[in-house]
Symmetry: C2
Subunit: 352 residues, 2 copies
């Protein structure tokens, strides 16, 4: 067993309790980050976790040493799906909640092919549990953000622009700095996009010299947890005009956020401001999302998300305006929900 | 439309034909690499493709500009699952083959929640089509391999060892060199592991000075296609002894491979050689896997894979011996199947 590092113990007992209250014998999990969340074991292969009174993780032979070194719950060797199925039936565990992402082929194998004795129901128990972060998780997300923002500051994008650096060089150096400062990796493929490409919200860095504006969307992963920020550096008057609208949407949305609001209400604030300036149809994505072990977690912050924001949830606030074929602007911060929203980190929104 | 670059046209017509022959109205796809394979559109969001006489890809608003710039098949805007469901029913398309990886929640939404009019059946049509590569795909995998091997050679791992470099520095520099030489990214997180950590087949590079042996498993991605190699550099007599066994398994397996063999027969050759030397229980993974747009594709090369190898399939051959708590050795090349196996690239198996 490794030194205790995961947030699992509180969440584990919460989940066992809720699983029972809803009448399930257990929770059957396959998503690597759900397994990591509960066991601290980061699978490099595929794995199953069975969460009941006696939580167990099944690891493949390839990954067994890794599992035994890191898991805080019992580890068994995964032999085959039918052997696992037999184990469960033998232990009287037949009525399971499953993740909504379980692949249909596994679902069919468990529910039909073997004994027909397992009853599997999609339930968002674990997605819901993961929404509200523990103290330990909050600290990791703060640290990830700190690393990412220090790397961005020290990179000095404007000097890179002056020296004729390419998008991918900037992206690569940012990745290197984040690792130098303690990140294990990027939390997603860094977006460094400039000129007309910036109107594609998820453009990949190209081997071409930086143009203007320069949009950078990046994050660090620290002890498994993600950060997420975007900054856009503008140069022309038109770019500045669009930037000011996006920044107003960003700032006013963050000022308005407090626990008890619905996620769709947050989205509406940003969307309405951009629409007032006549760019409603150029705001082509949601206002944000939560993050944690995954870079995209529930709740999403979209026009349709009815989830009520609770204390110790994180969401990103990332309004943008995308003028197709011309340029795009986005400004993003991650906030922690409480009586008001606390912006994580202290990176200036305006880079000059 | 971008310049024609994807292998899609041959595969597209093959798949439409096979889909009809099996009595489906079409194929419903959600895996990003399946969508890229058929349309050349690399989704940054989520997307659906419907493959029938009139192939269509549905992209979210966020990703619509990207889809229109790159897709070689019709692009429509994705509004909602129920709108998509309605479209399909309206066009008389109700009987679909689906991927085995479709998430259970999407499956349920399509098949029950809306109209109950869609009939979805898991079928490996596209996985099977993707196994045999077109000329264009072969060239891309060769090029990816060339880039990755040149980067490894120019990196000169032994000089890094002599200068006291850390695992992660080597991993990072290898990634940078691959990009310098034209890769868009690594085909997976580079494994640079050394000393006792090398007994974990998928160890992550650590911020610690290289020990011995040094095991590096890496690949480049070029125009979407992956390469995959492993080299282990040994120093002590015991390491050399284990290396020689692994190399014999690697070489003799590759010499034996020819079209018409079953994948499990390939696995058995490597496994038997390692077992003869008394290390059967230390060979804790499959002998290989295919690759392409994904780093792991069908067929797997395991004890249980009955798939017959055909001309223009790729497989990796990567036997290994893992002495828990002590060290591990693996040697891996990617081969193209024909009357015999052609090793891709020309990297020496022994690094001294």
């Amino acid at each position: 067993m490794s030194e205790y590092e995961s947030p699992s113990s509180i969440h584990l007992s919460n989940l066992i309790k809720k699983t029972k209250e809803k009448g399930y014998d257990g929770l059957l999990l396959t998503e690597p980050n759900n397994i990591k969340y509960l066991s601290n074991y980061d699978t490099k292969s595929f794995a199953f976790a069975i969460l009941s009174d006696n939580p167990v993780v099944y690891a493949t032979e390839l990954d067994l040493e890794n599992a035994k070194l890191n898991s805080q719950i019992e580890v068994r060797k995964f032999e085959s799906l039918s052997a696992l199925n037999d184990d469960l039936v033998k232990e009287g565990l037949t009525n399971f909640a499953i993740e909504s992402t379980l692949p249909i082929s596994l679902y069919e194998k468990f529910s039909d092919k073997f004994s027909g004795k397992l009853n599997l129901t999609i339930d968002h128990l674990i997605e819901d549990e993961r929404m509200v972060k523990s103290y330990d998780e909050i600290v990791k997300i703060q640290e990830a953000t700190k690393i990412a923002q220090k790397a961005f500051t020290d990179l000095d994008v404007l000097s890179k622009y002056d020296s004729g650096a390419s998008e991918w060089e900037v992206s690569y150096e940012l990745g290197r700095l984040m690792r130098d400062y303690g990140a294990e990796s990027e939390s997603f493929d860094t977006i460094v996009t400039s000129g007309s490409n910036s109107s594609l919200p998820h453009a990949e860095p190209e081997h071409k010299e930086l143009e203007t504006p320069i949009l950078i969307d990046w994050g660090a992963k620290y002890k498994g947890y993600c950060s997420d920020n975007t900054r856009t550096i503008v140069f022309s008057e038109k770019q500045q005009e669009i930037f000011d609208i996006v920044l107003e949407a960003h700032d006013k949305t963050i000022e308005s956020i407090k626990e008890g609001m619905k996620a769709c209400e947050v989205d509406k604030i940003a969307r309405d401001i951009i629409a007032e300036y006549g760019y409603g149809d150029k705001y082509i994505h949601s206002t944000g999302h939560s993050l944690g072990l995954d870079i995209h977690e529930n709740p999403n912050v979209s026009t349709r998300t009815e989830t009520v924001l609770e204390k110790n949830m994180f969401i990103t606030v990332e309004p943008g305006i995308y003028l197709e074929g011309n340029f795009g602007v986005r400004v993003e911060d991650t906030v922690l929900i409480d009586k008001k929203a606390h912006v994580i980190g202290d990176l200036p929104r305006i880079i000059i």
